[in-house]
C-alpha cells in the first residue's frame, strides 16, 4: 500500500511537471497579438478563463460580417476585424454583438469603433475610439 501511495504522489507530481513544461513551451511562441488593426473593440465583463471564453470567439466568428477575432483576457477586450466586403451599420451591429456576448455567458460593457468601417445611422463612418 505504501508503494502504491508513493507512486500516486510521484505520478501526480510528474503530471504537474509535464503540464508546466508543456505550458511553458507553448507560452513562449503564442503570446503575440495577431489582430493589429481592429475595426471594432468590444469591452466585455466576466472574461476570467480562456477555456470559458472560447464560446465567445466561436460565436463571434460565426457572424458573417466578422472576419477575425482576438480575445484579450487581462484587458477585458475583444478585437474584431470586419469583412471589408460587407458594409454594416451600428444599428444592426450593436444588438447583434450584444446578443452574442450574452449567449456566450458574458456582459457587453461598451463597443468602440476604431476604423470607420461601421456606418452610423446617417450612413457616415463611425469612429468612437482609437
Amino acid at each position: 500500500m505504501q508503494y502504491v501511495r508513493e507512486h500516486m504522489v510521484r505520478y501526480s507530481l510528474a503530471w504537474l511537471l509535464m503540464a508546466l513544461i508543456w505550458a511553458g513551451g507553448l507560452n513562449s511562441g503564442y503570446a503575440q497579438s495577431h489582430v493589429k488593426k481592429p475595426d471594432v473593440v468590444l469591452w466585455v465583463k466576466g472574461l476570467s478563463c480562456p477555456f470559458c471564453a472560447y464560446g465567445l470567439e466561436k460565436k463571434l466568428k460565426k457572424l458573417s460580417v466578422v472576419k477575425d477575432v482576438e480575445v484579450q483576457m487581462d484587458e477585458g477586450k475583444v478585437l474584431i476585424v470586419l469583412d471589408p466586403g460587407q458594409p454594416v451599420t451600428q444599428e444592426d451591429f450593436e444588438p447583434l454583438v450584444a446578443r452574442v456576448v450574452k449567449e456566450a455567458g458574458f456582459t457587453l460593457e461598451r463597443v468602440e469603433y476604431t476604423s470607420g468601417h461601421v456606418l452610423d445611422a446617417s450612413g457616415h463612418p463611425n469612429k468612437t475610439g482609437s
Binding site: G46, P50, G76, E103
Partner: protein
C-alpha cells in the same frame, strides 16, 4: 461592496438551506462531478454557452480499506441557454462492467460579471438510474457559488444525494475549493490553474473530510483535469478511505 455582500449573503443562505434539506445516513461513493470548468472533486456554478456542446472522458480510482474500484466516466454536456446546462453521464465500473446513467442539470440564477472575473451562483439537480437499467435510483440537489477571477478562484458548494431505494444511504456533500493561476497567460496560451479542495461528506451519524490537490490545464477548447484526494478526518463509524484519483479530458465545441 454592497453587491458583494449581497452575493456572499445569497451564497450563505443557499448553503444553509441546502444543509437544512436533511442529513441522512451511511456511506456512498463520491463520483467525479464534472460539469464544465469547476473543481476536480467538487462542483461549480459555471455553465457552457448557449448551444455549446462538451464531451468529457474521465477515469477514477477509489481505494478504500476494503476494496478498490476503477471506473470510466463519459459525459455529454449541452447548453440550453448561457445559464442552463444539462449533462448526461455514464459511469462504467471496470471490475463488473456495470454502467450507471445520470442526468444532471445546472441553472445559474445569479451572475455578476466584473472586469476579469465573475460572481455567480447556480442550483444543481440530477437523477441517477439503477445500474440494472431501469428505474430511478436516486436524486441530487444542491447549490454552488463561486468567484472566478484572473488570479484567484473560490468555490463553495453543498449537495444532497438521496437514494430512493435506501434513504439510509443518502449523503450530504460540501466542498470548498481554492484555485490560483501561478501565471496569467493570454487567451492563446495554455492556462494552468492549481486547485486545493476540502470535500466533506456528512452521514447520519458520521462525518468524513477529504483533502484534494489537482490542476486544470486548458488550451483553447481542450481541458485536462487530474487530481488526487485523500482522507483528512473521519468519525469512528466511517470506513477508512485510502485515496482517490481522477483524470479527465474535456473538449467543448
Amino acid at each position: 461592496m454592497r453587491s458583494y455582500r449581497t452575493y456572499v449573503g445569497l451564497c450563505m443562505m443557499g448553503i444553509l438551506a441546502s444543509l437544512g434539506v436533511g442529513v441522512q445516513t451511511a456511506r456512498a461513493q463520491s463520483r467525479v462531478p464534472v460539469l464544465k470548468h469547476e473543481p476536480i472533486f467538487g462542483v461549480g456554478p459555471r455553465t457552457i454557452w448557449k448551444g455549446g456542446i462538451g464531451f468529457e472522458v474521465g477515469i477514477a480510482q477509489d481505494r478504500t480499506a476494503r476494496n478498490e474500484q476503477l471506473a470510466l466516466e463519459y459525459e455529454i454536456l449541452y447548453g440550453l441557454t448561457e445559464s442552463w446546462a444539462v449533462t448526461l453521464l455514464a459511469e462504467q465500473a471496470l471490475n463488473g462492467m456495470r454502467t450507471v446513467f445520470s442526468l444532471r442539470s445546472k441553472f445559474r440564477f445569479f451572475k455578476k460579471d466584473v472586469r476579469g472575473g465573475v460572481y455567480h451562483t447556480a442550483v444543481l439537480g440530477g437523477i441517477r438510474m439503477r445500474d440494472s437499467g431501469g428505474g430511478l435510483d436516486g436524486l441530487m440537489m444542491g447549490l454552488s457559488g463561486a468567484y472566478e477571477g484572473r488570479r484567484w478562484l473560490l468555490f463553495m458548494t453543498a449537495r444532497q444525494r438521496i437514494r430512493q431505494a435506501r434513504v439510509r444511504d443518502s449523503i450530504l456533500l460540501y466542498d470548498v475549493a481554492l484555485g490560483v493561476r501561478p501565471v496569467k497567460t493570454t487567451y492563446y496560451q495554455p492556462d494552468l490553474t492549481l486547485m486545493a479542495e476540502l470535500n466533506g461528506q456528512l452521514f447520519f451519524p458520521g462525518h468524513r473530510l477529504l483533502g484534494a490537490l489537482g490542476f486544470w490545464l486548458t488550451y483553447r477548447n481542450w481541458a485536462f483535469k487530474p487530481g488526487l484526494q485523500w482522507m483528512l478526518f473521519r468519525t469512528n463509524n466511517i470506513d477508512e478511505g485510502k485515496y482517490r484519483w481522477v483524470g479527465s479530458v474535456e473538449v467543448h465545441f
